[in-house]
């Protein structure tokens, strides 16, 4: 009778079956994108071919639902952004990819590095062209990849990579010759467990990037629990079933090694399970703070105490929970000044029943939850948010949002699919009045696809003056969403470089210090007839991913060259007048006018 009900009732389905990932991918490849689309997927044609393989084989192993991240970084210092994806594998050592429910793409199961050989066309336009350089890079990351952080930890001017895994994390030092060396063990950062998002951050203002690692739960295949949905059907567990794992803070010893200072610097806890990490100066005291989005537990705002320690002020700050006082299942996160008042606000994305949260910073790290008033909360209900970031996609001077979604519980209406977790992406436009509009329908075909999206990295991949997005999907091709509309308005592109110091006692010690991106620096863009804009240099935020550290500031319809004031992480302030519009400019610390 049960089958009878099932069979009969399902014959009465009113709606057409939703798109499968495969169908959606086919449709995308075959469809010609409308000229009006704001973002166009150019992954396939640019050679950025990557599919995350989670190794699922019907056992619903918890880590399968949460990978994986993607990084945008200029590893070869040629002026354009390259792409790095983490990759999965079979979690159960007793199984091979042949046992997987969905076979992996025909690529070796390891993280991939794609070099961007950006083509400048005759008309001046640019076309990204990617070449898989994993083998020559020397990056051998075959763990169960979760996420990635990017930053120049040894101040040699070449950006390094920290790969978070289910398993042992890896640190790859960039040799400045196109290759990397695995320095995981020597650096002391090769912790084992389950890390997801990580961030390079100079929390003690000594000019050296330290490392915050967000950890999830204590899980191994032996302790795996069998979880079900309400009807008894097998599904993935929630983190509440497992014990949270403590986050770690590593202090940079300036010699290629790090010291785990968690016990002293991050009192209490464990506060996880952590999924998203973003760093910014939330109380405007000139010291970088750290915000951690936790899954099902209170989020944490680590306020920098300026003495090497942090204090969790999440609750009092008003950013630990939702407006109803209950913790959310927070995943992706980013900090940005959405209302151009000079304070870093917070945006987190979470479960379908919770909606996204927007916390407006009133200054001094006291926030108001304006999720409902902004419209972002209601508009994101029904979606499971992961990768996200503040970015001004239309260069109108107001930070907008993109959310890459994908369910973590099987979507019942898609029970027949092998991987029924796909959701659409969302694009929200900042209306400049505290409210946002859902402009997803205009965003392009890629936004209509149901995919299990996770990591998203944001940056100007074609150097044309607007922000593009790379999204990593589980069991579906990664997307390269090229922005087609941003540079219709004016902009300035800034790369803020500093040369804090060379390494002391490492093999690098004889090498001169290189210019590196000054993560944590803030820029104040002073315009003649428009409000001042505040942006910051960052690669963290989103979900398990690393963004373009450069700063692209939309200026709207005004082409007046603005004054730019750089607030460097060491507290110094410098100014540049009449910064060129509609082009990229490098600002080097010490070369501006001191303020």
């Amino acid at each position: 009778m049960a089958l009878l009900i099932a069979g009969v009732l399902s014959a009465c389905r009113a709606d057409p079956p939703p798109h499968s990932s495969a169908a959606a991918a086919g449709a995308a490849a075959g469809e010609s994108e409308s000229a009006a689309a704001w973002f166009v997927d150019r992954a396939q044609e640019s050679g950025l071919t990557f599919t995350y393989f989670n190794g699922m084989s019907g056992d619903f192993l918890f880590p399968e639902m949460l990978p994986g991240g993607v990084a945008l970084l200029d590893y070869d210092n040629d002026g354009d952004l390259d792409v790095f994806f983490v990759q999965g594998r079979m979690l159960d050592a007793a199984k091979s990819p042949a046992d997987a429910t969905i076979a992996p793409a025909p690529q070796p199961l390891m993280a991939r590095l794609f070099r961007n050989d950006l083509v400048v066309n005759a008309d001046g336009s640019r076309t990204p062209h990617f070449v898989d350089v994993t083998q020559q890079s020397g990056i051998d990351a075959r763990g169960y990849g979760m996420g990635v952080a990017a930053g120049d930890f040894n101040n040699d001017g070449c950006i390094d990579l920290y790969v978070t895994n289910f398993g042992r994390n890896q640190l790859f030092r960039n040799n400045c010759d196109g290759s990397f060396t695995d320095v995981s063990k020597a650096s002391g950062t090769d912790i084992s467990g389950w890390s997801v998002s990580a961030a390079f951050v100079d929390y003690d203002r000594d000019g050296w990037l330290d490392l915050y690692v967000g950890n999830y739960v204590v899980w191994d295949i032996q302790s795996d629990q069998k979880c079900t949905g309400l009807t008894g059907k097998r599904d993935y567990c929630t983190p509440a079933v497992y014990r949270p794992q403590r986050d770690r803070l590593f202090h940079n010893n300036r010699d290629g090694t790090f010291t785990d200072v968690t016990a002293r610097a991050l009192p209490g806890g464990p506060n996880g399970p952590a999924l998203g990490v973003t760093t910014a100066d939330f109380d405007n005291d000139g010291w970088i703070d750290i915000y951690v989005a936790n899954d099902g537990r209170d989020n944490v705002l680590w306020l920098n105490q300026r003495n090497g320690t942090f204090k969790n002020v999440g609750l009092l700050a008003g950013v630990a929970v939702g407006a109803n006082g209950r913790p959310n299942g927070s995943m992706g996160v980013d900090a940005g000044d959405f209302d151009n008042d000079g304070n870093e606000d917070l945006f987190t994305v979470q479960l379908p029943s919770e909606g996204a949260r927007l916390y407006h910073n009133r200054g001094a790290a006291l926030f108001d939850d304006v999720s409902a008033a902004s419209g972002l909360g209601p508009m994101s209900l029904g979606y499971t948010g992961f990768g996200t970031a503040w970015f001004d996609f239309d260069n109108d001077g107001w930070l907008d949002l993109l959310v890459a979604n994908g369910a973590i519980e099987a979507i019942k209406e898609r029970g027949a699919q092998l991987f029924p977790y796909g959701e659409r992406k969302l694009l929200f436009r900042n209306l400049g009045n505290g409210r946002f509009a859902n402009v997803t329908p205009q965003a392009g075909a890629a936004f209509r696809q149901f995919e299990v999206s996770r990591g998203a990295a944001f940056g100007d991949i074609d150097n044309d003056g607007d922000i593009d997005v790379v999204i990593s999907n589980i069991h579906a091709p990664a997307r390269l969403l090229v922005n087609t509309v941003g540079n219709r308005r004016h902009w300035i592109g800034l790369r803020l470089l500093g040369r804090p110091a060379a390494a002391r006692r490492s093999p690098d010690s004889s090498a001169p210090a290189g210019w590196r991106d000054m993560l944590g620096a803030r820029v104040e863009v002073i315009r003649s007839n428009a409000p001042t804009l505040w942006r910051r240099v960052r690669s963290d935020g989103s979900y398990a991913s690393a963004n373009d550290p450069r700063v692209l500031v939309g200026l709207g319809d005004t082409s007046d060259p603005p004054t730019v004031r750089a607030h460097w992480p060491d507290g110094r302030v410098e100014e540049w007048r009449a910064v060129a519009v509609d082009t990229w400019t490098t600002l080097r610390q010490g070369e501006g006018v001191a303020r």
């Binding site: 009465c12 009113a14 309400l230 403590r246 016990a263 008003g318 006082g325 209601p378």
Partner: protein, 529 residues
């Protein structure tokens, strides 16, 4: 059976073919097809529930001349089950049919309101609650949920009169005051928010999430001390309106996981017997689920039934020996019952199954140290700290086990290191002060430093322990008169508190000071953790 199937099939297919224009007759409203996803992988108990409701619906459809409202009820009842099982799309269709067939029945728009809320369709949710409210204008639950829908949409002004009416109708409804408080909070009316939220909390102190809103309201008034005091009490239980309809829905689904969720809610609300009852029902459906049984054991233990808890934990160990949490919990019960060797065995089993189970290893270390195996305890503490250096309970236990072993020099060094590592935790300063004041090893003692530490502690904490420590330091410095005076003060406090055992111990030291002798016992064995 075949006949039933054919009728259902005919209706279903007709519905599908006519794209929602399915009707019983020309005068009856259009009905929507109700599709249910594949039920083959679900629990038999739930399948049986679907079978029963489906049969009831089919029977109603077959009843020629039956009132439309009866068919509406049959659709609505199926909708409830679909909603309870989170099949939201077909539940919506079923409710819409019920609403169309029985437009005077407030239940269906009410449930639709909740369904749309669960789906994130807030405008539809508000519209449905509004429709339900028109049918039952004085229903406080509907008023509250409609107010909540408006709040979620960022429309506090639309929500305000609804919560106001709810408060007027049910002045003892914590949920109504909670909503009114949140409206005030959203509008920046912090004084009003405090009033409403304090009332809500007084009416339902178990709704611990109210503390968060109250904390935010105090923060808005600039009263950070009260804000922090409220936030420290924050929990995750929201005040809910008296809501028989939703309670019926919540209790509808008969699956192990549904009982697990319900039991979990009761656990959170500290309703131990109700939690145990839910877990038992869940286990009846899925007897081999170790997690469910573990929660039953926990509920039983919390309700005072230690024997019942042990029985459950042992059953898990018998059937799922690798379920480390059962070993751990059994160890906790054994330890609480003074059965130390069995506790050691259970904790050992837990860490053997799950070497990263630091809470179990910490307990093992503690029990070993207390029960004649301090060296082994020390080793376990060390293992915890190797895996998680930030676990300060382990650092404290490690240092105090060194004290227990009379390794005062090592204890001192360990405490000095811990003070640097955990600067915010006064326990380490307190323990170090005692070791410096009273260690038998003269090379370890440093009376001046001990007194400085005790003095610093006394600026924030006037406890018996810290007072006694200050007296120890004074005695070590030779100021016996003052040491005795402080000790007498401390004894007086302990006497007032009825702490007779403590008083006896304090008198021992007082006698020493009165004889102008220092203390040479930093901690008695009873004082050591």
């Amino acid at each position: 059976m075949r006949r039933t199937r054919l009728r259902w099939l005919a209706i279903a297919l007709a519905c599908a073919a006519q794209a929602g224009a399915c009707a019983r007759g020309s005068s009856e409203p259009s009905l929507r097809p109700v599709s249910v996803p594949d039920l083959s992988a679900i629990e038999p108990s739930v399948r049986d529930q679907f079978h029963a409701r489906h049969s009831a619906l089919v029977a109603q459809i077959a009843r020629r001349g039956a009132p439309a409202a009866d068919l509406g009820t049959a659709y609505g009842e199926l909708g409830k089950l679909l909603m309870a099982a989170s099949y939201f799309d077909p539940a919506e269709a079923a409710y819409l049919n019920a609403q169309a067939l029985a437009p005077a029945d407030a239940r269906w728009p009410y449930y639709l309101g909740h369904l749309y809320k669960a789906k994130g369709a807030l405008e539809k949710s508000a519209a449905s609650f509004d429709r339900a409210l028109q049918l039952r204008p004085d229903d406080a639950a509907t008023l509250i949920w409609l107010g909540e829908a408006y709040l979620a949409q960022g429309r506090p002004d639309a929500a305000r009169p609804l919560f106001g009416r709810a408060v007027a109708l049910e002045p003892r409804s914590a949920a109504a005051h909670f909503g009114a408080g949140r409206v005030s909070l959203a509008n920046g009316e912090h004084a009003d928010a405090v009033t409403h939220l304090e009332t809500a909390l007084a009416l339902d102190p178990r709704a611990t999430s109210t503390h968060y809103q109250l904390g935010m309201a105090y923060r808005g008034r600039g009263d950070l001390a009260n804000a922090e005091a409220q936030l420290a009490q924050k929990g995750n239980i929201e005040p809910r309106p008296d809501d028989p309809l939703m309670r019926a829905l919540d209790e509808l689904l008969e699956s192990a996981e549904a009982y697990n969720v319900r039991g979990g809610r009761e656990l959170e609300a500290r309703n131990w017997p109700a939690a145990a009852e839910d877990f038992r029902k869940g286990l009846a459906l899925r007897p081999s689920d170790p997690s469910l049984r573990h929660r039953l054991g926990t509920a039983l233990y919390e309700s005072g039934d230690a024997a019942g808890a042990v029985e459950q934990f042992r059953e898990i160990i018998r059937t799922s020996p690798d379920f480390a949490r059962a070993h751990f919990s059994l160890g906790v019960v054994m330890e609480a019952g003074g059965r130390h060797q069995e506790a050691i065995e259970s904790f050992s089993n837990a860490v053997a199954r799950d070497p990263g189970y630091l809470q179990a290893r910490l307990q093992l270390a503690r029990v070993l140290a207390r029960n004649g195996a301090a060296e082994k305890g020390l080793a376990e503490y060390r293992q915890v700290l190797e895996r998680d250096p930030a676990m300060k309970e382990a650092a404290f236990g490690y240092a105090m086990t060194l004290v227990r072993l009379r390794r005062y020099r090592d204890a001192r060094d360990s405490l000095v290191s811990a003070i640097n590592t955990y600067p915010g935790d006064p326990r380490f300063s307190y323990a170090l002060a005692r070791v410096l004041a009273a260690a038998p090893d003269a090379a370890v003692r440093d009376g001046a430093r001990a007194k400085a530490l005790a003095d610093r502690l006394l600026t924030t904490e006037h406890s018996i322990d810290v007072g006694a420590t200050a007296a120890m330091a004074l005695a070590e410095l030779g100021d016996y008169l003052q040491a005795a005076a402080v000790q007498r003060d401390v004894i007086a406090v302990a006497e007032r508190g009825g702490l007779h055992d403590v008083v006896q111990h304090l008198i021992v030291n007082l006698n020493l000071y009165e004889r102008r002798q220092p203390c040479r016992t930093p901690f008695t064995d009873e004082e050591l953790p």
